[in-house]
């Protein structure tokens, strides 16, 4: 048995993903976002999180997946990693589970269209339930954002 880690589970399409609970500040419903001009398309804008202005990105767009209309179950997960506070739009977020760190295996090259470098690993949590753990540091890599900006502008 390895260490138990608490993970927030959310969905993009049919796949289930997880981020460590201590990196998540709060989960919010979809609310008004103010567009920021000349940013990459997956950046949806900024929101008011109790007086703090927080940038919000669409995780589907970030991974190059097809973006869908936001629904009632769509959520914004506010994460706080390396002093960056960012909101991530996901299809739904509805569970917190314990994952045995021994059950996490290295990610394959590509899972559900997402490159391995964005992933921390894959955890088997049930009979045929796979949970893909994100590597938030890479997902929120600013260097990549700057490159993207340069491509766009």
């Amino acid at each position: 048995m390895g260490e138990e880690i608490k993970v927030i589970v959310f969905k993009l399409g049919k796949e289930e993903y997880g981020v460590e609970v201590e990196k998540v500040e709060t989960i919010e419903r979809i609310q008004h976002l103010t567009r920021v001009p000349k940013t990459p398309p997956f950046i949806k804008g900024v929101m008011n999180l109790r007086g703090v202005v927080v940038p919000v990105l669409d995780l589907r767009g970030r991974f190059g997946l097809e973006e869908t209309e936001h629904t009632d179950s769509s959520r914004i997960i506010i994460v706080n990693v390396a002093e960056l506070k960012v909101g991530m739009i996901v299809d739904s977020a509805d569970d917190v589970i314990d994952v045995d760190s021994a059950a996490i295996s290295d990610p394959p090259e590509i899972v559900g269209g997402i490159k391995a470098k964005y992933l921390r690993g894959v955890a088997r949590t049930g009979e045929d339930r796979l949970l893909i753990l994100l590597n938030l540091k890479e997902v929120l890599n600013k260097g990549e954002l700057v490159q993207l900006e340069e491509l766009e502008v």
Binding site: V46, N48, G51, V52, K85, V86, L140, K142
Partner: protein, 685 residues
């Protein structure tokens, strides 16, 4: 009474510096070899000297100056420290503390420091071993100055003198309430308010605090400066009910001086004899008697007027308030849906209260930089006198608001820079004449917002920085080699001025030239995460430009709509708004231009630059324009609608989007939505 603002600031800062000196002296006693500690003490003493001189507390300044003289050789390791020097320094610090507490108690901070100054001087001269006997009796006695607290202090006196000089009327007003009056404090307050609307109260007897606490008899007196004539003042006061009489006595220079004397004389006797207040008599006698009565209590603490609050708490308050605001908007919506009159009323009341609260919360941290700036004209005047130069200080942008933290910290660096400009920048009168310049040197002090920065500039029209002299000094100190010096670009040469212990001044003056100063300035600015730049042109002048980030600040902004989106444009870069027919905008070389008051300025379509999705400015019809300015350059921004002016709180976009295009930050609108703030500087090429 405006001067209290600076006084309390001075007291706060001086207390801190004195405490630092005390602590560091103790530390130094433990490890006398540590030169770093000497540096810290020296800087504190230096700053203290500057501040005291600025506030006109000469004895404080002269004592700290002597301390500096003692510390200076120690700083270079040239003088070892022994217990005698420590004793002298500690005694000086005690004396400084005594003077400061006198100031806190409302006194003038005057004290006899000759004995201790003599000791300090003998240390500098190296003959202190013999002089040690006289050191015993050297600490200052604030007791003898306590009496002054009754009368006008030197500062208030000079304020009154200056008011007379600038064609204001100075009055001594004695007001008596009727015997039936129950709420004495409230009536007195009404009088104060009426008067403060029309002029300025310099001093009140009994003190304002005592009046507020009802600690006075039927009468009170005050010194008052106003443009109003005597009769209208009498009417003004007697119009308030329950006032038995108001005696308004105009004062001129002579009667003012006479009063200063009699007041001083009476104050002494007042300690022994309790003088009962008599009804107002002749011109000079009455005020003096009125002063005698509250003699015992007049030394009320000035320092109690402010409290210091941890800024983190204010931040927390601010965030909590933003949450409240969102709920308020939500409640307003719900109330308008439910349509129950008592609910609507309650919500409306809550809205009013919360908008009052909003302005308080928002303004808590913000202070106009004026609180720092306005003590400079006096300082420059004194400096000019000391140096025998003619100086003119031009201040612009004193209403620029800055975070309290920044305002608190920016005072010392600015004092250094201004003194530096006056001392080194501006040439002597003869040199200026020879160079064909106006005899009077001009120092400009400017503050303005630029994007999400505040820029404070100190510029003089003096001789500029002498490259050769600077480099020669740098080579002598071993900061650069001769070979390096030759290749150095000007900017880097100027940067040498900020190196520690660097000074090109030929002689050490009371003002500057010790080589503390610019390096302290730089360290301070950098600790505020700002930058300092120098630009200079020989013979023309030097500009020090301090660039401070505006992490949290409130600015006036114009809210505009661009299609479905809302943006805020800082008011200080807006020249005006206009509505112009689309046909008047002409296309030249693929860019739109507009004839604007005799010049051709570019027209920028915000919908287009900001790539507003699904919206285009219609081809024909009227265009709403916001004319913006970046220094001399103008441009017109096309918006679809003006929403209105508003005070907004600047917020940054978060680190993830730190470099957004043409946007300097964001603000949260009343409805809880985020609006971006346009950075006009990025739009004007």
């Amino acid at each position: 009474m405006e001067m209290n603002q600076y006084l309390s600031m001075f007291i706060d800062e001086s207390t801190e510096h004195l405490q630092a000196i005390n602590e560091k002296l103790l530390e130094l006693e433990q490890s006398p070899e540590n030169l770093d500690i000497v540096h810290v003490i020296f800087r504190s003493a230096h700053t203290l000297k500057g501040m005291a001189a600025t506030m006109g507390f000469e004895d404080l300044a002269s004592l700290t100056h002597q301390m500096e003289n003692v510390l200076d050789p120690m700083r270079g390791g040239k003088q070892s420290v022994d217990s005698f020097i420590f004793d002298a320094l500690f005694k000086s610090t005690d004396a400084l503390e005594a003077m400061l507490s006198d100031i806190v108690a409302g006194g003038t901070g005057k004290a006899d420091v000759t004995a201790i100054v003599a000791v300090l001087k003998s240390i500098v001269a190296g003959e202190y071993k013999e002089a040690s006997a006289s050191a015993a009796a050297s600490s200052a006695s604030p007791a003898e100055t306590a009496d002054d607290a009754v009368a006008l202090d030197q500062y208030q006196f000079s304020v009154l003198e200056q008011s007379l000089d600038s064609a204001f009327n100075v009055y001594f007003i004695r007001t008596e309430l009727t015997d039936e009056c129950v709420l004495k404090a409230a009536r007195a307050y009404m009088v104060f308010r009426e008067l403060e609307d029309n002029g300025e109260i310099i001093k009140a007897f009994p003190s304002v605090e005592e009046i507020e606490q009802d600690k006075f008899d039927r009468a009170f007196s005050l010194y008052y400066v106003s443009k109003l004539p005597q009769e209208s003042l009498v009417h003004l006061i007697e119009d308030i009910s329950e006032i038995r009489s108001a005696t308004v006595t105009p004062l001129d220079h002579d009667s003012l001086r006479l009063m200063m004397q009699t007041a001083g004389a009476l104050a002494e006797s007042a300690a022994a004899v309790e003088a009962p207040a008599r009804p107002a008599g002749n011109r000079s006698g009455a005020p003096a008697e009125a002063k005698a009565a509250p003699a015992a209590a007049a030394g009320h603490a000035v320092a109690s007027r402010t409290i210091r609050v941890d800024l983190d708490r204010l931040d927390h308050l601010m965030n909590l308030f933003s949450e409240l605001l969102i709920d308020r908007v939500r409640l307003e919506q719900l109330a308008s849906e439910i349509r129950r009159s008592d609910l609507t009323e309650t919500v409306e009341h809550m809205s009013r209260v919360s908008s009052d609260l909003q302005s308080i919360v928002l303004n808590l941290r913000m202070v106009p930089i004026d609180t720092v700036f306005s003590r400079f004209p006096r300082m420059i005047r004194d400096v000019a006198k000391t140096l025998g130069k003619k100086l003119d200080l031009v201040i612009t942008g004193a209403d620029t608001e800055l975070d309290r933290t920044v305002v608190d910290e920016i005072g010392d660096p600015l004092v250094h820079l201004l003194r530096n400009s006056a001392d080194h920048g501006i040439e002597s009168i003869e040199d200026r004449k020879r160079a064909g310049k106006d005899e009077t040197g001009t120092i400009q002090l400017r503050a303005y917002h630029s994007g999400n920065h505040v820029i404070i500039e100190v510029s003089d029209d003096g001789a500029g920085i002498n490259r050769a002299k600077t480099l020669a000094a740098a080579i002598k100190k071993g900061v650069v080699t001769e070979a390096e010096a030759e290749r150095m670009p000007d900017e880097e040469v100027y940067r040498l001025l900020f190196a520690s212990g660097f000074s090109t001044a030929d002689k050490i003056s009371d003002l500057s030239g010790r080589g503390v100063g610019l390096d302290v300035v730089k360290t301070k600015i950098e600790s505020l995460s700002g930058q300092i730049l120098v630009s200079s042109q020989e013979g023309v002048g030097t500009t020090f430009s301090i660039n401070l980030p505006l992490t949290l600040s409130i600015i006036g902004a114009m809210l505009v709509a661009v299609g479905p989106e809302k943006y805020a444009i800082p008011l200080n870069s807006i020249v005006e708004t206009a509505a112009v027919d689309a046909a008047k905008i002409r296309r030249l070389h693929g860019n739109d231009h507009l004839d604007y008051r005799g010049s051709v300025i570019p027209v920028i379509d915000l919908a287009q630059v900001l790539e507003v999705p699904g919206y285009q400015t219609p081809e024909a019809g009227e265009r709403n324009l916001v004319i913006i300015r970046k220094r001399e350059k103008l441009a017109a921004l096309v918006v679809s609608d003006f929403i209105g002016q508003q005070e907004i709180v600047l917020k940054n976009l978060g680190k993830y989007l730190s470099k957004a295009f043409a946007v300097s930050g964001a603000t949260i609108l009343g409805d809880g939505q985020v609006a971006l703030i346009i950075n006009p500087n990025a739009l004007i090429k």
